[in-house]
């Protein structure tokens, strides 16, 4: 298929333009986001100072918003893995302009998600006890605990994702280093590792990327399975379910995809990349989102059907509360935005567009956050012994910190887009704007 290409220099001009200078919009947005993030940090400091009791959690709901956010952000991090790794391994060319944006989401979402095991600790200043080091107590961490599995899994995934983001960045950074001045020059030169573009370097890079794609995929599947096993390994009613591991992985890919679509829409508009992020990219992403929505529905249905049919009394308490009782509004809202909206907006070809993909994705982000909430809170509210039943409502501290993570994610992304081209230049194959 022959297509008129965007001229070489034009590509570089378009993709390097955002790196120079900062518009008023940019500075204002970054300042606002930083303020929200800072407020969250203050709230966290307050929590450490006064005590974790300032959060809304109580017995028996020992885990609340922080764990919901934790699972949510680790889920979002699967954006990069899906687009970059899976599509890289299947040689799907259309993914190329999208890979770096996706990989960046992964790294930042992991950094944010990885904070929550710290935030939710009762004695957060002793978090380092979860790492193995020789100490005067002669104690080591308990590797039989799913929380320790979390620590190792997320550390590995974060290391892998940073490397996975960094490797294809090297050639672009080397090109930038030729033109940069001042502090940017120092950063780019340092990151470029002396890249010259020789065939030996290119071969090594491509080999490394192929291997990393396979490795990171294996790690990503395991990471969200491990996060799911935080719940599965417990014998709490409706937690002790074998379906959780694949359910969470599917949900993670689902929410990650939605997060990616939202990020791309914003990038496309803000950086004027309409000729690089084409409608057919969003069509493909939208189709993937629809597929994941159906997969999510399948898992949700299977999970709930088995609980209902089994009719075990303790589980039915939780089940009833979710579908008919006090959590029913959240549950049915979740089903609506996770399935009905994407099915209609993206399933009907005439309705599928960039706008509807955005609406569906924002809905999915809300829906997946609600899904995590509905997994954690109802089960904990209704334990086996009825005398211990309780409630949960978040406090301003939890809400502030949750909002701050969204702001921090956006802020980190803004900074990233200013330092590095958000579309991978050397991987990008220019298409004419008319291409569909």
């Amino acid at each position: 298929m022959a297509h008129a290409t965007i001229p070489y220099q034009q590509v570089r001009n378009d993709l390097w333009r955002p790196l120079a200078g900062a518009s008023k919009h940019y500075t204002l947005t970054l300042a606002l986001l930083s303020a929200v993030a800072l407020w969250g940090l203050i709230a966290w400091g307050y929590q450490i100072h006064v005590g974790i009791g300032v959060a809304g959690i109580q017995r028996p709901v020992f885990w609340g918003f922080y764990l919901v956010d934790f699972v949510f952000w680790i889920g979002i991090s699967h954006a990069g893995t899906l687009i970059s790794a899976i599509l890289r391994l299947t040689d799907a060319d259309w993914r190329k302009p999208v890979t770096r944006a996706a990989e960046a989401i992964t790294v930042f979402a992991l950094m944010i998600g990885g904070l929550f095991p710290l935030i939710h600790l009762g004695r957060a200043w002793l978090f380092y006890w979860l790492f193995p080091y020789p100490n005067s107590r002669l104690l080591w961490p308990n590797y039989r605990s799913p929380l320790m599995w979390d620590v190792t899994a997320i550390s590995t995934y974060l290391t892998g994702s940073v490397i996975f983001l960094y490797l294809p960045l090297i050639p672009d950074v080397a090109q930038l280093a030729e033109r940069a001045t001042g502090w940017r020059l120092r950063i780019y030169k340092w990151l470029a590792l002396g890249w010259t573009g020789s065939d030996r370097e290119w071969h090594a890079l491509e080999r490394a990327m192929k291997l990393m794609a396979g490795i990171i995929l294996a790690v990503a599947v395991s990471v969200h399975s491990v996060v799911a096993w935080d719940f599965s390994m417990a014998i709490a009613p409706m937690w002790h379910s074998t379906i959780f591991a694949p359910y969470f992985v599917v949900g993670a890919i689902f929410s990650g995809l939605a997060g990616l679509i939202v990020a791309l829409i914003i990038i496309r508009r803000a950086l004027h990349l309409e000729r690089y992020l084409l409608p057919h990219h969003f069509q493909n992403l939208a189709k993937l989102l629809l597929l994941m929505s159906l997969l999510w529905l399948y898992f949700t249905f299977a999970e709930n059907l088995t609980v209902w049919y089994g009719n075990e009394p303790k589980e039915m308490n939780v089940f009833g509360a979710r579908l008919r009782g006090r959590f029913a509004p959240e549950f049915w809202l979740m089903v609506f935005v996770n399935f009905v909206v994407p099915f209609v907006l993206l399933g009907i070809r005439r309705l599928r567009s960039i706008t509807t993909a955005t609406i569906a994705s924002v809905g999915v982000l809300l829906g997946m956050w609600l899904e995590r909430y509905l997994i954690i809170v109802p089960t904990l509210s209704l334990p086996r012994l009825t005398s211990a039943w309780g409630r949960y409502s978040p406090s301003w501290v939890e809400i502030s910190i949750t909002a701050a993570t969204f702001a921090a994610m956006a802020a980190l992304y803004l900074v990233f887009a200013k330092l590095f081209p958000i579309v991978s230049i050397w991987e990008f194959e220019p298409h004419a704007p008319e291409d569909e």
């Binding site: 070489y8 220099q9 193995p132 002669l138 104690l139 080591w140 961490p141 308990n142 590797y143 039989r144 320790m148 599995w149 190792t152 899994a153 550390s155 590995t156 290391t159 892998g160 490397i163 490797l167 050639p171 080397a174 090109q175 030729e178 590792l193 002396g194 890249w195 010259t196 573009g197 020789s198 065939d199 030996r200 370097e201 290119w202 071969h203 090594a204 890079l205 491509e206 080999r207 490394a208 291997l211 990393m212 490795i215 990171i216 294996a218 790690v219 395991s222 491990v226 096993w229 050397w426």
Partner: protein, 170 residues
């Protein structure tokens, strides 16, 4: 004392032609280096050098696996504490940790081996490097001074532009 000369090609085919000619004249893969700002796909075996990256990564992963199994075994038995009637050390209860650390081994080995195999950070600074050209493939040949004319003529015959001796940039 080796000389370096370069020629720039606009298309992959002419570069391949030049490389084939040069290889016929006795130049090996270590004498010929191609510089480009995007990866160029050459036919198999043209400029390939053997790579042991996959083997290295698997080995790295295996080493980390053995290390982590040993570590967990040591730490669990060093101060054995009974929890929930589970055995002190069992594969199932800590299998995830083994898996993740094995993958970490694979990841770190990939990065390390990439840096090694690409020659980054080890680059001999006395060897001159051409500037990365826009949309062009630059072929650099290392030759003895007496072979310079022959090499240059092969390049020109294959359609290279800017055939010249490469001096080290200041």
């Amino acid at each position: 004392m080796s000389l370096y000369l370069t020629g720039t090609f606009a298309a992959k085919e002419t570069a391949i032609h030049a490389i084939k000619q040069l290889k016929a004249s006795g130049y090996g893969p270590t004498d010929l280096t191609v510089f480009s700002d995007e990866p160029v796909e050459f036919p198999r075996g043209l400029l390939d050098q053997p790579s042991h990256m996959s083997l290295a990564v698997v080995s790295g992963a295996a080493i980390f696996f053995l290390l982590v199994v040993g570590f967990v075994y040591f730490t669990q038995y060093n101060y054995p504490l009974v929890t929930g009637g589970m055995p002190i050390f069992s594969f199932w209860s800590t299998g995830v940790v083994f898996y993740e650390m094995t993958m970490l081994g694979a990841i770190l080995t990939t990065l390390g081996w990439f840096i090694w195999e690409s020659g980054l950070l080890r680059r001999d600074k006395t060897i001159p490097v051409p500037a990365i050209q826009a949309e062009a493939i630059c072929l650099r040949i290392r030759c003895a001074p007496e072979q310079y004319e022959d090499a240059a003529s092969i390049l020109k015959q294959s359609g290279a532009q800017n055939v010249a001796k490469l001096e080290k940039a200041a």
